[in-house]
Structures are given as structure tokens and as C-alpha cells.
């Protein structure tokens, strides 16, 4: 049996609803993954500490506030600082198409726009974790 994929789903920032994050969390569970759900208003430090303690293969960040540049830079930077840059970072929520290249440049594995079928994220994640081994 292959090792189980573990994913942290985090919702940073102050904007208050996490419907999208919950939808993706459930979809990943139904695809056989273990999803560590951290709740609302997570700081980048908390997200990174959680990913490391949980031995996550990936961190999914859901952002609706428009502060994606800040959070991706912070999370990816902190992972590097802790020697955990092998943990994949991906994102979703409301992130304008034209901002995506900037995030990929920073080291994000993928960024999924609003309305992306959950199946697309799942397929991508499985493959990304597999090639990361």
C-alpha cells in the first residue's frame, strides 16, 4: 500500500468564511487523503508549524482576501527557513489569473481559480506528491 497522502488545509487572514476550504477538504478526504483542517484565521507561522508537525506532503492555502502575495511569500519563505521546502504549497480561493505567475515564481506548485473542479486539484496533487518523493 502506498503511503497515505497528508494535506494541511489552511485559511489564513481575517476574512471570515471557509466554505471553499471545507469543500476541498471533503473532496480530498473522499479521494483517500488525510486532511488536517486548521480552522480560520491562521498566521503563516501557525500554518508552517502545523505542516511540519503533521508531516504533511502538501499545504493548501485558501485565500479570499486578496492578500495572496503576502501569505504565499510568507509561508513559502518560512518553510525554506525550517528546511521544509519539500512540502508542496498550492492555493485556491479568489486569486486573479494575472497574479498566478507571480505565485508560481515564488515556489507555489499550483494555484486553482474559482470554479476549478475538485477533481482537477486531486489529480494534480496526487501526481505532485508522487513526483516529489
Amino acid at each position: 500500500m502506498p503511503d497515505k497522502i497528508r494535506v494541511v488545509i489552511a485559511k489564513p487572514g481575517l476574512d471570515g468564511h471557509d466554505r471553499g476550504a471545507k469543500v476541498i477538504a471533503r473532496a480530498l478526504r473522499d479521494a483517500g487523503m488525510e486532511v488536517i483542517y486548521t480552522g480560520l484565521r491562521q498566521t503563516p507561522e501557525q500554518i508552517v508549524a502545523t505542516a511540519i508537525q503533521e508531516d504533511a506532503d502538501a499545504v493548501g492555502i485558501s485565500i479570499l482576501s486578496g492578500a495572496h502575495h503576502f501569505y504565499f511569500e510568507k509561508v513559502i519563505g518560512l518553510l525554506k527557513e525550517k528546511g521544509a521546502e519539500d512540502i508542496i504549497v498550492f492555493g485556491g480561493g479568489v486569486i486573479p489569473e494575472e497574479d498566478v505567475p507571480d505565485l508560481i515564481n515564488m515556489g507555489a506548485g499550483a494555484v486553482f481559480g474559482p470554479g476549478t473542479p475538485t477533481g482537477t486539484t486531486i489529480e494534480w496533487l496526487k501526481e505532485a506528491v508522487e513526483t516529489n518523493k
Binding site: M1, D3, K4, R6, A25, R26, L28, R29, D30, A31, G32, M33, E34, V35, I36, Y37, T38, G39, Q42, T43, E45, Q46, A49, T50, I52, Q53, E54, D55, K82, G83, A84
Partner: protein
Amino acid sequence: MPELLKKVLNGDVRGIARAISMIEDQIIKTGTSEAETLMQDIYPHTGKAWVIGVTGSPGAGKSTLTDKLIEQYRAEGKKVGVIAIDPSSPFSGGAILADRIRMQRHTDDPHVYIRSMGTRGSLGGVSNGTREAALILDASGKDVVIIETVGVGQSEVEIMKIADTVCVILVPGLGDDIQIMKAGIMEIADVFVVNKADKEGADKVARETRAMLDLLKDKSWIPPVVLTIAEDGSGLPELVSKIELHKKFMNDTKAGLLRIEKRTNTEVETLLLSRLSGRVEQLWGTYKSDKIKDLLLRKTNPYAVVEEIITNL
């Protein structure tokens, strides 16, 4: 010394996290796995942490209480490890692990390590690797390890084999005495916690629980009943002092030491059983092609086949 072992003993967070995943992914059966070797190396460095089990019905307040226990022990300067178990989906094998939401404020404290685990098909309130994860945290230098069980309300007897002190959480308004009567609850509790004491009926639950304690056969330790409000931390200092009292009982009395011995017995038996069950498939595999036809034709019978296999062991 192997790299991973060194990291665990140094309290390196990534090392601890990796070690626990290794245990989870390699179900301990074969005896040749890296995981089993790691555990053999780890074991001599364990026995220092006090392992506390937190069990009780869904929504009883296990995670909230664990959060407050972390706070108490951190105030004493103790290092804390937490293992929080949630059920895996029997359909997909996946899981949403959400207990840690209520403990997230401790996440960036370097002396707190929190790990979520899915049951991965294991019954009885914990997962297959929970015992090993607790040992790894012990060896990494944690003073206290807290295990939050699944909390499906079934008899979660497995925690008894793993934890030094089991806290059973009861709450008012759940059909009171039924909670306590539930199979196994009386037997596994070292401390009863009546949480949500801000709600009506908590005193009644506490009273009924105390009354039940008369039924205990082994009266060397009478589980105390503590009222708490996990939301605001009321009753937490008392809970911690009762856990401490139980620790003294276990370590300093003959009856306590007898319990520890009994648990060690169970530990070996459990491990032996899981190793043997791992061998069953392999063993039967070597006989299968030989016997299956005769079995189907009823020329022989399962009892005879099993007898033959056992005799030839």
C-alpha cells in the same frame, strides 16, 4: 546511530513527524520493517513521559479540555506532546482531522507538538500506531503526552493499554446514568471529568458517577470525579492535581505497580498477536494450493488443515 533516531532523541520536530508517519505507514507486522527497528531503538529512551488519555462521547469537550491541559502543563514548564485521533472514512480511507483547531494557539510554541491521526480502520478509539507515536514523543523529551481518542461513544478500551492515566469525560444532558453504565467506561476511567459544568445537570451527573463507584471491584484506586468548564478553564487545576495523585498511586503503591505490570503483559500479548496475525496469511499461502481443492471437494476439512499447519510450525 541512525539519523532518524538521532533526530527524535534531539527533539527535532521534522524527525519526530517523520518517525510517526513511518510507523503509521508500515503497519507493524513483519518484524523486518524499518519501523520495528526504530521502535526497538526508541524504547530504551522511553518511560519518562506521563501519558494521559482523554476519552468521551462526541462533542464532550475532549479537544477543548486538551487545549486547557496543555496550558496548565506549559505553565509548569513541562513539554507537551498531543496525539489527537479522528475517524478515517471506511469508504475512501481518507479523513478530516480537525481536533487540533481547538489547540492551534499552542502550535507555534516550540515545546508543544501536536499530531493528528486517522484511525485507518482500527477500532477501539485509537489507531494502530498510537502507542508507538506516544513512545516516540516520550523519547523526544516530552514530559507529558496527551492522547485524545476518537470519541465515537463506543467502548474505547484500547486507550487503557496505552495511557498511564485515563480521563473519561462526561457531560450533562446526554441521558446521564446511561453514559456511565456504558460497557467499559467504569473499567477504563482513572479520573472522571464532568465537563460543561456551566450547564444544568452537571452536579447530578457527578453525584450519579460517584454512586456508581461503589460497584468497582478493585478499590485500590477510587477514580475522583472532577467538575470542569473546559471553555473557561474552571476546574483545570483540580484536574491536573488529580492526575498527579493518580500518577503517585501508580508509581508508589503496590497496587499501582501491579497495574503497570498487567499493562506490560497486555502490551506484549497485543504485539505478539498482531505479528502472528501477519504470519497467518503467509502461512496459509504455503498450504493453500495444496489444500484448497480437497477442501472444496470436502475430502478434508478446515479443522484438520489448521491442525496440520499448527503441528508443522
